[in-house]
Symmetry: C2
Subunit: 345 residues, 2 copies
């Protein structure tokens, strides 16, 4: 096909409407960019769908749209977010992530060089997470009808028998743990977007959590619930789960791990770190007797080194979240009402 087409110009070339036509320009984009980077037998078949081989266990699906702005930020880009975000959604159900699909909505005029950086980042993150990108789609919209690139990913994973991670299993007395400092991703994106040089040292925590989760489940298969505090942050996760479980949650402000530059940026900018997004952290709920073995296991994993218990599930004020302040006070931690940082993921 398309013997007359010049090779894609990854130095100066741009996405054009024709790359979304389904014709030879679309095929060129597939064969010169997506296929070599995402290489795997399923994608190479270039059929409309991919046939998968699956280990025993329960199959789970998760999906996410990614519209982060800017596309590149300290510690990551939209490509690694798109892969790790969906890998983590699967991991939060206790699943081993296996396959991803990716669909791209590109704006005409977007530089091929940037697109290649993003695609390479996705490929690298997929390799690290042990998932194959088995099917995809690309559409192009006119300049001014999109914003560079949007990426939707859907992930399929398998939960081993005996593992039941579910909000309905949260119980009174459960301990609440976070795997590390919160809000790095939110501040990293904000600092890039607003050119805040004084917080330049904060890099996104974007990372795949499935190995940490696998290690936790190996020592504590009876774990009750996991959730990653992305958009809306820790406060949103706790409010969602308090509402779903109709139990109360009580957390200690002083116990919540925050990096110094994140804390400083929040104070300066009037942001509450409990509502800031992380992209490589998790919140776990489990019976108190599991605390020592879980913390010991997590502390041995690079992504759980700073894991710490921050609170307890109670039967006080079902459906709400209380914060025990550093000054000995107690206040409700409400749902996020505004949007301090739009397009954070």
């Amino acid at each position: 096909m398309a013997a007359h087409l010049r090779k894609l110009d990854f130095k100066h070339g741009c996405i054009e409407l024709i790359h979304g036509s389904g014709g030879c320009a679309s095929h060129q984009l597939f064969s010169e960019l997506f296929l070599p980077e995402f290489t795997n037998p399923n994608l190479a078949l270039a059929h409309d769908s991919a046939v998968l081989s699956l280990p025993p266990g329960r199959v789970v699906l998760a999906t996410d749209a990614h519209v982060v702005s800017p596309l590149f930020f300290p510690g990551g880009d939209i490509g690694c977010l798109a892969v790790n975000g969906t890998v983590n959604d699967l991991a939060m159900s206790g699943a081993r992530p296996l396959y991803l699909t990716a669909s791209f909505i590109l704006e005409a005029g977007f530089a091929l060089a940037e697109l290649r950086l993003i695609v390479r980042s996705m490929a690298e993150c997929a390799r690290r997470a042990g998932v194959s990108i088995v099917a995809g789609d690309t559409k192009v919209v006119e300049q001014g009808k999109g914003d560079g690139v949007f990426i939707s990913t859907t992930g399929l994973g398998v939960v081993a028998d005996g593992i039941h991670i579910d909000p309905s299993r949260i119980q009174v007395g459960d301990r609440i743990l976070v795997s590390g400092p919160l809000g790095d991703h939110g501040i990293a994106v904000l600092s890039q977007r607003e050119h805040l040089d004084f917080v330049a040292e904060v890099v996104s925590d974007c990372a795949p959590l499935h190995e940490l989760v696998a290690a936790m489940l190996q020592v504590a298969p009876a774990l009750h619930c996991l959730r990653d505090p992305t958009r809306g942050g820790l406060a949103t996760v706790l409010n969602e789960l308090a509402q779903q479980s109709q139990l109360g949650m009580e957390i200690e402000e002083a116990a919540i791990p925050l990096q110094m530059p994140v804390r400083a940026a929040c104070e300066l900018l009037g942001l509450d770190p409990l509502y800031l997004a992380s992209e490589g952290r998790l919140v776990a709920f489990f019976a108190p007797d599991l605390t020592p073995v879980l913390l010991e296991t997590m502390h041995q994993h690079p992504l759980g080194r700073q894991a710490v218990c921050i609170g307890t599930v109670t039967d006080v004020r079902p459906g709400s979240v209380a914060l025990l302040t550093a000054f000995g006070g107690r206040r409700l931690l409400p749902w996020l009402a505004g949007d301090p940082l739009p397009r954070i993921c």
Copy 2:
């Protein structure tokens, strides 16, 4: 949660950035719009991923991004395209479609009334196709950074044992069949976009093909390959499969079914109907002895009533497609080089 929030105003309300925050406005959109329309036990759990029950067979995944413009057109809208498009991708591998995920990228300022129409259309199409929408995500971008709504859908289906629909099974001598008139969808969208009143009678053929495919496979499980001629049309499907199979394809111009208004619009507008998108048609490849039973079965199905054989697979000029013209000539049917109708799906 959010006791202080007024109910969504589906008459005058608009999407705002805050609906993408992950906080209470996001939850309101989920609980007052998506959940009631897409209602099913998986979605009601509101976990980050959905646990599925699957019948025996091979699991397949397919994904599509949808950016059609305008969002509403004669015979359909972006919602039915998003469901049927992915249902059909699964059906083209011989799979029974079971589950869908949907991710929405909304532009701030988009009318909630229109969003509800689209979501209802998706829910109705999902019911008709027998699939559950089990997981989703919604992001919001600023006005001028999107175009109303983009929808990415991913579908999971299961292929029964004994069915092997695959481009690699296409053989010399295979007959090529189309299930009905081509290009209705392309002309319907174009007529709406360009206000071409003279083609107002053409409505999109958008429809789910899985039942037609199931009926075909029941009488002809040895079918070789299926493909739906969407973006890029019949000519693109044939060129893709000719290239993949490294065989020749020969089709008869006079045999290709076209509705009169589509033919007329193409002549007037200088469009080649062989490159126009259909969204409820399929192309099938099979051994010649299956022709009578396949045609008889298809003619009994509402979506296959006008099914007809249009050509044959050959060993002449491997990788290319020849058109035997109505005047007795013979010319190569090239890959789509331009994009006559951007944003058709």
